[in-house]
Amino acid sequence: MASVTFKVWRGDIDGGEFKNYKTDISEGMVVLDALFQIQADAANDLAIRWNCKAGKCGSCSAEVNGYPRLMCMTRMSSLPQDKPIKIEPMKSFPVIKDLVCDVSWNYEAKRRIKKFKPRKPDAADGTWRMQQEDVDRVQEFRKCIECFLCQDVCHVLREHHLHEHFIGPSLLVYTAALEMHPLDVEDRTEDLRKHQGIGYCNITKCCTNVCPEHITITDNAIIPLKERLVDKFYDPLKKILNLFSGKS
């Protein structure tokens, strides 16, 4: 059993500092286990948000050695233990206390995205028919657990704090799931350009790299949405062709 030092950020919205804690690590432990031990032994008032401890609720997002991760899915054996392990809250959101952030902005921004608007029912009983090949693409997006690690690592939010102008990768995945849904008839391209700031994304793929559900956020959600915007706003040839084919 090895003794490992943790530097855990302690504080609230007014500021804080890193505090050192030592705890014993045994085989199979994850970072969240170690923090539970610290909470039990040395820091009873340490605030941590967690729920499932199985990488499915998306609650225990934090930065482990400077990289956004789910604490419950980060094995201690994957981290160098010869120097202190730094644990801090996500940087794209205001801190409430210690490792707990106020992520409410994500839900408010999500509410502003145009809702699912299905076409008229296919059958007289008010139901629809969909083929598997039509929903294959959007099923990937449904894996999102709203851990907001992608929002945390996105430099547009993290460094430039453009929350007012850009909804971030997580909500672009949500928008893609609606926009590419075979039943949906709503058009969100104008909003994506004007209000949700998809143009701010410069395709660094950091969001894809940190996604614990391995959603290919940039290639499968953001870039296809960007291409749909090109169709509508930036492709004169397409506009001319649409004019002749009678499409709007």
Binding site: I13, E63, N65, G66, Y67, P68, P80, K83, K86, E88, K91, S92, F93, P94, V95, D102, W105, Q131, E133, D134, V153, H155, V156, R158, E159, H160, H161, L162, H163, E164, E179, M180, H181, P182, D184, G197, I198, G199, Y200, C201, N202, I203, T204, K205, C206, N209, V210, T218, D219, I223, P224, K226, E227, R228, L229, V230, D231, Y234, D235, L237
Partner: protein, 266 residues
């Protein structure tokens, strides 16, 4: 108090990351810089770009030029005297534009050259950020037009591989079938460039990504799946094709200069 008022901003390069995050952007910076310097130099040379049946991909198609590969004869009379001429000038802007506006390359060079950001979760050099939402980077949306031209180049480069199979006997002047190392180099070049170009994000959109309904269109679905398959390894194809297109020019150039010998297999 606004939601973001208490958020902190990192200074340039500031991070708590303990891994060697700087290696990837540095490698990309060095790789791109080496290619840009070499390709610019090679384009300005205007000679040693063809050898036997081989034509350097930097110069293909040779619209005007002094070699037997030229489509419309030598340098045109209307070309301004004060402007240096090289057949590469007429064509190299197409692959350059295609790669410059490519989604993979954009993400890579924004990090490596602009530090926007230098790496994930690492502080940036500038406070202001406009991304691709406004001028000048909004121009990146032109990518699909470069794609159309790049697809045409693939046809010409494939034709160059065909030409690279027919060698002229210096004694008789007769053309005969043959295989040289250069034939394989040019074939590898066109295969890798095809894998890169056919895996383009814009092409993926144009062949099927634009629609929400694949059922009832099996050909469209299959095409979309094929492009998506190549697209998954777009970064790999981007680097491999970049390396081999540069090597193809080096190979032909060194053969033309008499430094390397083109070994004939057949």
């Amino acid at each position: 108090m606004a939601y973001t008022d208490t958020l902190q901003r990192s200074s340039f390069g500031q991070t708590e990351r303990q891994d060697s995050w700087w290696i990837q952007p540095l490698a990309i910076f060095l790789g791109f810089s080496a290619f840009i310097i070499y390709s610019t130099w090679a384009a300005f040379q205007g000679d040693n770009y063809h050898f036997g049946p081989y034509l350097s991909p930097f110069y293909s198609p040779e619209i005007f030029g002094g070699s037997s590969h030229s489509l419309f004869g030598p340098k045109p009379g209307w070309w301004p005297l004060w402007l240096p001429f090289s057949p590469a000038f007429l064509i190299l802007w197409v692959p350059v534009g295609f790669r410059l506006t490519c989604y993979y390359y954009r993400g890579a060079y924004y990090k490596a050259f602009w530090g926007d950001p230098p790496a994930c979760a690492v502080g940036e050099p500038r406070k202001k950020y406009r991304g691709e939402a406004s001028f000048p980077l909004i121009i990146q949306n032109i990518h699909r037009y470069f794609l159309y031209l790049a697809l045409m180049l693939i046809i010409f480069l494939t034709y160059d591989v065909w030409n690279a199979l027919w060698f002229v006997d210096p004694a008789t002047g007769q053309k005969s079938f043959g295989l040289g190392i250069g034939t394989f180099v040019l074939a590898a070049n066109v295969i890798l460039l095809s894998c890169y170009t056919l895996g383009c994000h814009s092409l993926r959109h144009l062949v099927g990504g634009f629609t929400d309904k694949f059922s009832g269109s099996p050909v469209r679905l299959k095409t979309y799946q094929c492009v998506s398959c190549l697209n998954k390894r777009h970064m790999f194809w981007a680097w491999m094709s970049l390396f081999v297109v540069g090597f193809s020019d080096i190979y032909i150039r060194l053969c033309a200069m008499g430094i390397w010998t083109d070994w004939r297999i057949l």
